[in-house]
Structures are given as C-alpha cells and as structure tokens.
C-alpha cells in the first residue's frame, strides 16, 4: 500500500496553480509551469515517473511547461479539442487515465476557451464516486473564468461556461473538492477568494457568480471588462505552436558594471527594469529605467516589455533578481541578459547620476486637494477599482494604457501618481520620468491609506472630469 499524493505547485505572483498526482510509481501533472524541476523532484521523491501531462486549456497568461516537462520525462501531453495545437494529443469527454488507483476522466467544459477541459478525479479503491475535480479556468474559488477572449461571441461563450459549470461540474456533487488553475491575484479573474481550498458544494452556495440564473450569468459575463495585456498574444502563439525554447538553452544573465550599464541605458534598445521596492526606487534609481517592483512583474511586465529587445535588471539582492527573472521566463521573456552589479550602490559609488521620486504622504495629498493646488493626480488603477471610488479631481488612466496615453497628461504641472497602495504608482511615475516629465511624485499608501486616514472619496463619474469639477 502506498499513499496517494496530490500536491499543489504554485507560481507566485502569477497566482497559477498546478498539480501533481502520484500513486504506485506513476505520476500525472496538470497545467505545469515552465520551470518544471519541482514536478520531477516530487516524482523522484515518491519513486514515480511522470507519464501524463494535462493542459486544461490553451493558456494565455504564461508559457505552459508541458513541452519542457515532456522533453525531460518523455510523458505524453494531453489537451482538449477545439483548438489547433501543434503538439500533444487531443482528448474527449469520457476519456480516462489511471495513475495507480487514481483515475482522471475528461469532462469537456468550454466557455473560458473552446478547448477547455476539466479532469474528474476518482479513487478507484473507494468506488466510482468522484472525489475532486481540476477545473482549469472554468471554475475558480470565488469566481468563474473570463469569457472575453472571443469579443464577437461573448454571449455564446458565456453561455457555454454556464452550461459547463451548471451542467457538468456542479452535478458531480457538493462533496467534490475543487482544484482550479488560478488563485487570488491572477489576471484570469478578479473575484477569487484568498482561500485555496473549496468544494463544489461550497462554491455552489457562496461563489457570487453561481448565484445567478443562466440569463443573468450570461449578461454579467458578457458585460465584464478585463485587462488584456499585450503579452497574451505571445503566450497564445507559444502555447499553440509549442515554440518555447528549452530552459537549458537559455543562458544565465550576466552582472554588468555601472559603466557598461550606463551605455545600455543610453542605447535605446535595451529595456532596463528596476525590480526593487517602491521605497527604494523612490529613494534613488537609474535615470531612464522602468520600475516594476518584483511582486508586480507577473502583473505588469506583459504590458510594458517588448519581446524583441534584451532586458537588464536592477535589483537589491540576488534573490530579488532571480525572482524577477523567473517570473519573466514564465511569461516567455527569455532575453534577460544582465543585471547591474552591486545593485544601486554599485551605480551610486561609480559616481553616476541618479534620480528620485519623492513620496507624498496622504496628509499632504489631502492638504493639496483641499487647497486646490494645481497638480495632476494620476490614478492608474483598474477600471473596477476606480468605480468603487476615487479622490476628487483625480484623472484616471489605467497603468497598462499609460504608455499610449501620455499626451493626455499636462507637462506643465506636477504629477502625483496614485493607485491602490502606491506600488503601481511607482511604475507610473517611472514611465513619466522616462518620458521627460520632471515633477513627478508618488503617493505611497494611495487609496488604502486614504481609506484608513479618511480622505474625501467621490464617484468616478465626477472625478473623471476634474475640470468641470473644479468649475463647480
């Protein structure tokens, strides 16, 4: 007798969840990430060999690790039908695969994508009743998958998703444990719970999206607006064609001295990305660099970085650098070619020029608003956040759109950037700095601080037109 293993492997920041199932020397992996050593190590530890890899759907937010893992283990890749994958084998409703006494059975659950499948888990030694289900991006804990990838067929796919959930998943039974492909923080859904454990029964009763009838569900889903970072296109392409490079062919980035680094910044092609904390960036940064604090790399690099140009990192520690690089590799940014040796201290002690982004406290911000000072309060949050309230007079441009909407921001006034906590605001500030805005500050704390401190908060409709508001 040997234990049945079910382990969750998380990709931090991407909020991506993958799973390995092991029993009696066999192992299956569901939705592997690209850096797949973790699955191999777990299989080894339990004396198993990975024979099956499942893709629940054609992913758009990361390079799936299926090909990498298959190259290293010889496992077979399986995915749904309805999408022209250049690799792996399609599976159909009812197909099943045994991992020891564990059985995975395919359920076609389209909606998020047309090829989406769920995998029902049974313990054949305890009978035919399902014990768990891997739902990919169909059903999350606290939310359901996005249905905005086919803009002209929004209602159709929303309906498909409803039918997949209510017609196929929920009927498996309240007692069935739920294992989705994403957790809270993912760009694949906005209402996910902070919890990673749930059941179909709990979701049936408490998942807000599941409290609606079919019509209301379709209406709501069809009306949703989600961000669509430009890198999604690249992911779709890689994940359809299987064109990812083997990780062992991607070279380690190199440390570069301040002199060499300065030349790269001067040179237009290189993308210099500062992944330090917002406070450290505020304190001093390499002029011309783009700030994306480490924990925001997965969320925002896909809006701001180009696949065609090399990337050079500024980090405080090797851990920070490696974390940023790992996130970039998961998004297919393979050209992380170097990093600033000695971090910012290396730059400073070389006697090179640095810039800073003064932090503005919420007290000072409120004072300025109340004193009606002449400055731009640039709110870069998502539309849905803004709808829950803004500061009076703020101008909203979503961070992902900022590079294309810089002309909307007056250059003759100071700018204070603003978001939920001040983290994204520092990205925005660095974009403005790169484009020649001179008086740029960051409100560290931002809306969270405002709510704690008690700022005036207004409806976005009002705040959207600051000029009129001022006139009023």
């Amino acid at each position: 007798m040997s234990a049945m293993i079910l382990e969750t492997i998380r990709s931090d920041y991407l909020a991506h969840l993958s799973y390995i199932l092991i029993h009696k020397g066999k192992a299956a992996v569901i939705d592997p990430r690209r850096d797949c050593q973790a699955y191999i190590d777990l299989a080894r530890q339990h004396g198993a060999s990975i024979s099956h890899i499942f893709e629940t759907h054609r992913n758009e937010d990361y390079v799936t690790g299926s090909r990498e893992l298959a190259r290293r283990t010889g496992a077979q890749i399986m995915h749904g039908k309805g999408f022209p994958f250049d690799f792996g084998a399609p599976v159909s409703e009812g197909d099943w695969f045994d991992i020891g006494d564990l059985r995975l059975t395919v359920l076609e659950t389209p909606g998020h994508t047309f090829d989406s499948i769920s995998l029902v888990l049974r313990d054949m030694s305890s009978g035919e009743d399902p014990v768990a289900v891997f739902t990919g991006d169909a059903l999350f804990i606290g939310d359901v998958g996005r249905t905005d990838f086919y803009p002209d067929r929004r209602e159709e796919v929303a309906g498909l998703l409803y039918d997949s959930i209510f017609g196929k998943l929920l009927p498996l039974g309240d007692h069935v444990i739920l294992y989705p492909a994403h957790g809270a923080g993912s760009v694949c859904g906005s209402g996910m719970a902070q919890r990673e454990f749930s059941t179909l029964g709990f979701e049936r009763r408490h998942n807000p999206a599941l409290q609606l009838g079919r019509e209301a569900f379709v209406r709501r889903k069809a009306g949703e607006r989600h961000e669509y970072p430009p890198y999604f296109r690249k992911m779709e392409e890689i994940n359809a064609q299987g064109s990812d490079a083997p990780l062992c062919e991607i070279r380690e980035p190199k440390p570069l001295g301040a002199e060499e680094f300065a030349k790269l910044v001067a040179n237009g092609g290189a993308q210099v990305v500062d992944v330090r904390s917002p406070e450290a960036i505020a304190g001093a940064f390499v002029p011309g660099s783009l700030a994306i604090p480490e924990q925001l790399v997965s969320g925002y690099a896909g809006y701001l970085l180009d696949y065609g140009q090399p990337i050079y990192l500024v980090a405080e520690t090797q851990e920070e650098m490696q974390s940023a690089r790992a996130q970039l590799l998961r998004m297919g940014y393979d050209r992380v070619e170097g990093w600033l040796a000695g971090g910012l201290t290396g730059w400073e002690t070389a006697g090179r020029q640095y810039d800073s982004i003064p932090a503005v406290n919420v007290r000072e911000l409120v004072r300025r608003i109340q004193a009606d000072e002449d400055f731009t309060l640039l709110d870069v949050r998502k539309q849905e956040e803004v709808e829950a309230g803004m500061l009076p007079g703020a101008r909203h441009i979503f961070l992902g759109d900022l590079p294309n909407r810089l002309t909307e921001i007056p250059r003759d006034k100071p700018v204070t950037t603003f978001c939920g906590s001040g983290q994204r605001a520092v990205i925005a500030a660095s974009i403005l700095k790169r484009h020649g805005f001179e008086r740029v500050e960051d409100n560290l704390g931002s809306m969270a601080a405002c709510r704690s401190y008690g700022c005036p908060i207004v409806e976005p409709a009002t705040s959207g037109k600051p000029d009129e508001q001022e006139a009023a």
Copy 2:
C-alpha cells in the same frame, strides 16, 4: 490581500497528520509533532507568528509537540475538557479563534477519547458556512477512531463517537473538507484510505463505518480488537503531564567503534536496534541485536523497546539512522545514545562475528509444507490479517506478543518466520535469535508472495491448531 495558507505536515511512518493555518500574520497549529521546526519555518516564510496550538485529543501514539512549540513561540495551547491536562487551557463547544479571516470553532466530539474536539474552519470573508473540519481521531478518511481505550465502557464510548459523527460532524454538510489526524498506516485505525483528501459528503457515502446504523456501529466498534502497544501508556502520561524534555536538551547520539559496540551488546542493559532493510539484516547482523527495519520503527518499537535503557542503532546510512532516531524521539525514546560507526561494514572489518537469517523463498516454503516437513511456520501478523487467511500449519503469535510467548515455540525444530511481506518476519526472527533459537529463517515476501504465487491458504480456525490439523 494575502493568501490563506493551509499546509499539512506529515510524520512519516507514524502516519500522523498535523496542520498549520496562516493568514494575515497569524498562525495556528493543530496537533503538532514534537520536531516542530517545520511549523516555525512555515510561519516565518509567510511572515506570521504562531499564536494558537490545538490538541484535538490526548494522544497516545506520539509525544505531541504542543509544549515544545509553545516553549519556542509563546503560543497558547488549547485542548478539550474531560481530561486532567497539566498544561494548556480547556476549550468548550462553540469557542472560536480567529487567524486573520479564518475562524476555528470548537466542536466537542468525544468517543475516541472523552476530551476529543473537532475544529470547524470558516473563511469569514466568504460567509458563515464551514469550509473544512479538523476531526482529530474522531473521523478518518475511510475509517473512524478507535474506541477501545476504556475497555469497561466500550459501548458507551462507541455510542458517543457515533453521536459525534452523525450528530455533529456530518451535519456540517457534504461540502466540508475533512482533515483528520492520521492517514493510512497509523496504529489508530486499520481501514484508512490511501488518500489524504476527502469531504464529509464523500465519507458519508463511502466510509464503511458510516454505512451502519447506530446499533450496528456500536456493536462493531465495541467488538473491535486493536493492538495496544505498551508505549501508549508512556505517551498518555507524557501528554497528560507535559513532561517531555525540550528537544534542545537531548544530545546527539555518538558513533561507536565495533569494540565499544560489542561491549554494549554483551552488557545486558543496552538495547541494540538494527534498522537496516530486512535483506541486509538477513545477510549479516550483530549477534544479539534486535531488528526493526527503519520503516517499522514507529509501528513496533513501542512493543519492543524499554524507556529505561539506552538505545544504540545499527544503520546503513546517516539518513537511515536519523530517520530511525526521529521516529524514536516522536515516541519519547530520548535515550538514543549511539550508533555503530561504519555500519555493519565497520563491524565486519573489525573481524567480529556476525550472524545471518537465511531467506526462504515462497516456492521452497510451499514445498516444505507440502512435504510435511517438521518445522514451525511462525505467522506474526495481526489478528485481523490472519482472519483473512493463513498458510496451512502456521502458528500465529502477533509480533507484539512474541517476547512474552516464546515458550510456545518449540526449540527443537527449525522456525520460519512469516508475515505480510517478510518485513515484520525479520523482527520476529531477530527476537528468536536473541533468545537462543538457532535454526531461524525468514520468508521474505510472505503472504503477499503467497497470494501472487498461489499458495494453499486456509481459515485461521484450522490453522490455529496445527497439531490437530496434522492429526487430521
């Protein structure tokens, strides 16, 4: 927003499951094991501090880590009422404790012990509905807790357990995830599934014990016979009084040369335990040593080792030695004072005498049985295993009872030891060897091999009286 963490920490071989819950900088641990660094590391990693420790019941199979963990973190220990603990604080039905947005609520679920509690887990950010429950030794996956600790009140406690499960646990709902204190392999239950994930709904329908009415349930539980290893008494005592030594006061065992080791064996007091594989023990072992292969230490040391005398180990690798020692420490055997330097090679190359236990293949065994050869086939399995079938002519003495029943085995005949796979048989063989039996062999493979190969298998009633059988 921060993720809610729920991690399972396993004590291998003991098949003990403990849990840590982390949210928003707080952490609670349920049924910690004694070597508790793992909880501290997880709390650190998630930036949390352990504030609460729960004991679901007065444990009898291991030294709980509550006091050790409390000493190192300052956390508060909580346990049920109905047992006179010398430490911690009693909690009552309905008491609740918040770990960030996670709420643990006490449910009194006596039966296994009178003080048994379960802890219902709610995610207060998703409403009042329970999402999971920690059931201690009340309800397992595939089985329910033992009710044999109060021999004169068997029916009463079996009834209590039924009421706890059917009156309190199952009503929480089919959708509630189940987190018990033991998995398959534990001495605390024999029918557990190999699976570590289940829900109340799945158990309600598939757990064999839950398919019975109250009367049948009580009858069955009251009639069950479980092993009761003598070390349980010591565990009960330590876990009631909190008299475990801090781990940092227990010294590292020392390597001992063959000469020194030989003196210890000669000296009656020392307990020399060989934790190598059955095959290695079969090949060569230190005369006078007691064999307990590493993976059987948790299961059988408690029958065979004395707390009052030092323990010296024979192992093949440091990992094997440390694993055996860790298991012994979890059982309160703090006096592991040394180990044989260089393993058995150290002993052999010192020119010292060694002994061996020839392995008898199933083919040879069947031949001997069929040829009616004069030997003792000693079956040391548990009663319940024997009831499912024995080899003809076998004499059954449960391994745990063997030291006290040696007089029942004829000394003038060869003995072949037998169990489920040959692993426990080697322990039995070493016990016989230590007591002067000369012709002892081990049937590596044992009943598993018999079933694969196709041996004659008989009812235990018949086989229990080999003499009569022969006469027949």
Copy 3:
C-alpha cells in the same frame, strides 16, 4: 579509509571564521558561532560526533557558540589560560588532541589577549610536520590582531604579539596553511585581505605588519587606534561567564500591525530598527526609527542599540528580517521581539505618516561646496578613512560617536551626511532625524562616488576645522 574534513563556517557581516575538523567519527570545532546547527549538521553528515570545542581567545565581538554547542553535544570546551573563564577547561602549550589521525596541538600565542592560543594541525598519517595552523585573532591574512584591549599595557601586549608571531607561528614553516578567526570586514582588524586562503610563507613575505622589525611593530601597534563599540563589554562579560541563554529559549519575534507598531515607536523604550537598504530608507521610513541597513547590523548595532530594551525591526522581506535578527543574536541582542507586518507598505497603507531622507548626488554636492552654500557636510567615516582624504569643509564625527556629539552639529543649517559609499550616512541621517534635525540629506555614493567623479579632496587637518576654514 575516510576523508579528512576541514570546513570553514562563516558568519557573514561579522566576517567571523570558524572551523570544523572531522576524521574517523570524531569532530572538533574551533571558535563556533552561536547559531551552531551548521556544525551539528556537518558532523551528522560525516557520521561524526563533536567531542572538542576550542576557543582561541576570549572573544569580544560576538557571543561564542561554545556553550550552546556543548549543551547540545556534550563536547568539552577548551580555552587558553590567563583569563578567568567560568566554564570549560584551560589548556597549555603542547597539549594535544586527536581527531582521528588529525592532531591539534596548543601553541600559546598571547598579544591580542593574554589567553590567546593557536592550534597547530598535523596529519599524523603523513608525519609530524605541521600542515596548518588556526591562529584565532593573532595572525590574520594581511593583518595581525588588535592590541588595544589593555590601554595601559599597549607596548607590552604588542610585544607579546610580535613574539607570538615571530617566535612561534612563523617558525612552523612557510608551507603551513593559515586559518584565522576573521576575514576582511571584521572590526578585529582593518587591513585584512579579501582572500581567505593563505600560508605562513605568503604572510611572512606579504603581510604588511610582518615586514617590520620588533621595535617598529610595537610602535605601530601601540599607536593604532581602533573603534571600540560599547557592546564589546557585554560580549566580554558573556564570554567570560558563559551567561548566554540557550537559543531554544529565545522566542520568535512577532509580526505587529502598523497601529501596534506606532505605539511602540511613540513609547520611548522600544528600539525600532529599520534594516532596509539605504535607498529604501531614503524613500520612506517610520518616523523615529533608527536606520541600520542589514549588512551594517554587525558593524554598527553594537554602538547604537541597548541590551536592556526590546528591539523591533522594519524589513522588506522575511530573509532580510531573519538576517538582521541572526546578526543581532550573534551579538547577544536576544530581545528582538517583533517586526512591522507588511514592511513599510503595511505602514503606508495604514495611512500613517512617514518621512524621507532626500538623496543628494555627488554633482549637486560639489556644486554646493563650490558655491559655498551654507550647510553641514557631516562625514561619519572612521578616523583612518578620513586621514586618506576628505571633502573640503566637511565636519568629521565618527558614526559610533555621533549619538554623544550631536550638540556639535548646528541645527539651523541643512545637514548632508557622508561616508564611504552612502550606507553609513543613512544611519547618521536617521540619528539626526530622531533627534529633531529637520533638513537632513544623504549623499548616496559618498567618497567612492567622489573618487570616481573627481571631487576636490583635501587633507583632514584642513577639513577638521570647518569654522576656521570658512573664515579663511
């Protein structure tokens, strides 16, 4: 045959080197650090038991791990004579101890302290010739030990050190490998090489201190000025009395929310220490906190922190927090009781006030100097650094002395802090901020940047009297 193991265990930032020797199941540790699990793990890995612990001298810069390690292993502690230790056993010239075929022989090498010993290492299987020597703080790579601990006997101890080195160590032979107790970066010497490998022969020829005759050596050593951080007294006391607490009795620090943290800062007793990077501190910090960037904790906490009050940390990551805590524990600061949950973001998003320390680039600094602006340029480097050149008009107060010399700094002028790279300058800036100085800036880059950029640099004599200079 088994390999002879000699491993170096480093205490980062403290630049402390300790050693473990292992052969044939025995192990000795020389100058262990307090967090001694590393030695136990190495001994385990090689199947050995630690039997001997050597203290080369009564240490003043860290809590030695001898007692901690002895408590956990039962090993015997040995140290030199000439100092009234309350623990362990004194050894004398010529005493020897065998670790398998490795022999450690005591050489009394006073000078740094009266009880200093060196340990000569022989491989008895290769003959009597020494192969290496552990020199403690007598002889370093590129430098020799301090001789300033007996201020009224400076020449005597300098002479003792000369005699120890020239009379005892160097005569062991050019071929002898050198293993000192500190490497570059230690407060125990200022001229150490960046290299951790050397021999007596290499040092005899290239160590600057060994190129002098006895008289010149004594003169130079007697004339040296070293920093003497106040915590040295505490270390001497602990290391004499063996009064360190067992590590397992020191509790984990707790995460504290912004509200709770704010109360601690307001409360005079608590010591709030910000261990983030200088840039992050520059960007935003908790008003009233003391900045000591992580990598400077070992170097400066001993000047600035009080043993009698609890310490609360502000860090960016758990790794940074744990590193700072480990350094503090090595220095006997056992009362690290909490840390700011969520780091500075936690503080900012709670809507609390934060402060910043604007960074001043070297270009701007030079401009101000040349424009003769009215500000204080506060240079907090060590005396020896200042002697190699200062900026014109700078006022020098060594960082360790700053808290006691604040009255020397005019409060009516802006202050720019300055050091070697800008790291210590941020500590100085935070001290000034805590004491009510309002206009404080930090020159990130400092002297290193000045040298790269090409600032005017003057002799300290001139710069030491800024008032006169201004008058001139």
Copy 4:
C-alpha cells in the same frame, strides 16, 4: 570590497575535485563535473557570471562538464595544447586570465598527459607572489599523476612529469597551496592522502614520490602498474570530441514493476545492476543481476558495464538509486532507463524467485583453510594489495579481469570471494552467480577482518600457486 571565493566541489566516489573561483562578479571553474548546477548556483549566490572554464588535461575517468557548463553559461573553455580537442581554445605557458583581482596563469606541466596544464593563482591586490596552484593530475596530495597512458613512451612521460613537478611546480615556493584534481580513492593514483589541504612545501617534504631523484622517480613511475578500466577509452573519446549529450536531453529513469523487470532480466540485452549494500545483496537479490554496491559504482561500473545496452537499477531507496545514476552519468552511462519499483521488497512480494549469497565469517574461513577443505578462495583485490599479503591458498584474479578469466575457476568446488572488506567480493560473487556458479559465498570483512582477527597471511608468490603450496 568583496570577498574572494574559492570553493571545492567534490564528486563523491570518483574522488574528483573541481574548483570555482569568484571575485567581483566574475567566476572561473576548473575541471567541472558534468552535473554542473552546483557551479551555477554558487556563481548566482555571489552575484557572478562564469566566464572561464579550464580543463587541466584530457580526462579519462569521467565526462568533463566543460561543454555542459559552457552551453548553459556561454563561458569560454580553455585547455592545454598537445591534444587535438574538437572544442575550446588552447592556452600556452604564461597566458593569464583575471577573475576580479585573482589571476590564473598557465603553466604547462606535461607528464600525466601531454596536454596537462597547471594554473597558478595570484591575488594581484597582494602582489605577484603565487598563493596557490591548481595542478590537475600532475601533483596530488601524497602522490603524483599516473604516467601509464603512453605504454611505449613510459620513461619519456615519467621524465616529463618529474620535470614539470621539480622544474615548474615546486619552484613556485613552499608557501603555495595545492589544489589537485583528485583526492584519496581516485583511480588516478593510489597513494593519495586522506587530506584535501596541503602546500607545495608540505608535499616537497612528505610526498613519497617527491623524495626520489629524477632517475629513481622515472624508474618507479615507469614500473608502476595501474588498472585501466575499459571505460577510459570512452571517456577519452567523449572528452576529445566533446560528444557528450546535454543533460537536459537525458530522460528520467522509470520505475518498473517486478513482472516487467523480470522480462528485462530474462532478456539478454539489459544490464540489471544491484546497487544495494553487500549485506542486502547477500540476503536476497534478483537472479541474474550484477551487484555493484552504490559506493563502488564509480570504481567498477567502468569495468563491467556496456555503453551500448540499457541499464536498470535495483536500489533500496531513491537516494541510493539517484546516487548510482549520478555516478553513471558522470561516466557517460546515459542509458539508465529504469529501476525496480519497491526495491527488493517489490520483487519478493510479487512472489518471484530470489537468490542469496551466504556470508562466511572470518572464523569459519580460517577453520576451513586450516581444515584444508576443498574450496576456491577467490581474492579479487588489486595487484598492489595482494602484494602486501594474501591468505594461504587463495587464488588471485583482479575483479576487473574476472569476467574474462572465469574459466580459471573450478566449477565443481564451492567458491568464497574475498577482497579488502567484502564489498568487492560481493560483486565478484554476483558475477560468478550470473555465470552459473552455484555454491558461492562472500567473506564479509575479508582482509580487514583477517588482520583484526589474526589470520595466517602469506606472500603472494606462494599463494599464487595454491596447488603447489598444498603439496609443500
């Protein structure tokens, strides 16, 4: 200022030593092993990039990791001249390479091979004097390199080696630290010390080979006989052509059930290798398998395994399996395709036949010898070991030659295998078993036990002809 790092990376069992040097963001690796993640991790940890890889000579005992490491880092491979490498760049006497302030200068030191180079290490911040030297296989600690690879030019190459050592290495100075490419246990030399630390001065005085004049040195070296495992040819070929496969293209071996495994054994092509301990193999093994205990894989697989056929392993633990596999990969055995699931227990419980090799204690062995019993005592040690004494009547066939000399062993008598400790004897026993010898025993303990116990020991000349001896 940053520390200079010099770390030794060992390949266990192969007794191969490789080195990484790191300073100021640059790193060089000397003689990397094939599994080169360790170097990449160290470089990362110290914020460095590996720019140079040095091969001190064309290796014959392992697949060098140069190409693998270069593929992953882009580093340049450098090697000596005088050998037609198909990759990398040749370097010449006096060429130097800077790694920060560390300088590596090439010294041509032929003898072991014609292309052998040594690398002199200088710390340029401390002057031009060498501080250490990496000597490859020219000079070891306690021995010098083999000179038997050019059988018809033995005296010439022995002379070259003498001149390299006495003319180039020793003149660097007594104080120079020695870093060779192998330690004790390597097949590249037999007299190496157990010590990994030494200096040229220590070796000059104590290395036995360096105590000879040129003529005596050449005579001795030219007369030496070393084993030449057949796999050396394969290594030479791979290391000349750079034809090693990238590690990421080699698939994980798979667990195989007893049934499947049995078929492989039955099938002549597969090589089934049992890497368990000698005692475990003695206790029970898969008939037809070849025993090579884990720690002997590096030493003997190269004599016994074929590169053209797949290899299947029998191990007790995953660690043991992975260790054996790692050793095999280092020797270019890329076809480790599977392993027996569940180890020998898996085989036994499947009811399959197993065999055993009874262990014969030294007491019994002596009794048999003295009783003049009719059996073959097969001594499989190396020639040099045998020359130091044998048991009377023993027949010597070196283990590496055994497969080709089986006809010399009488099949009508029992065979007891014998070596230094009983470990190699079990390999010999398994070879005999595979070839149909029926009565085979292993003397666990062997010569070491004989010496401890006090057996009669005779000159090999006598013992080589047991028949005559008996007649005498």
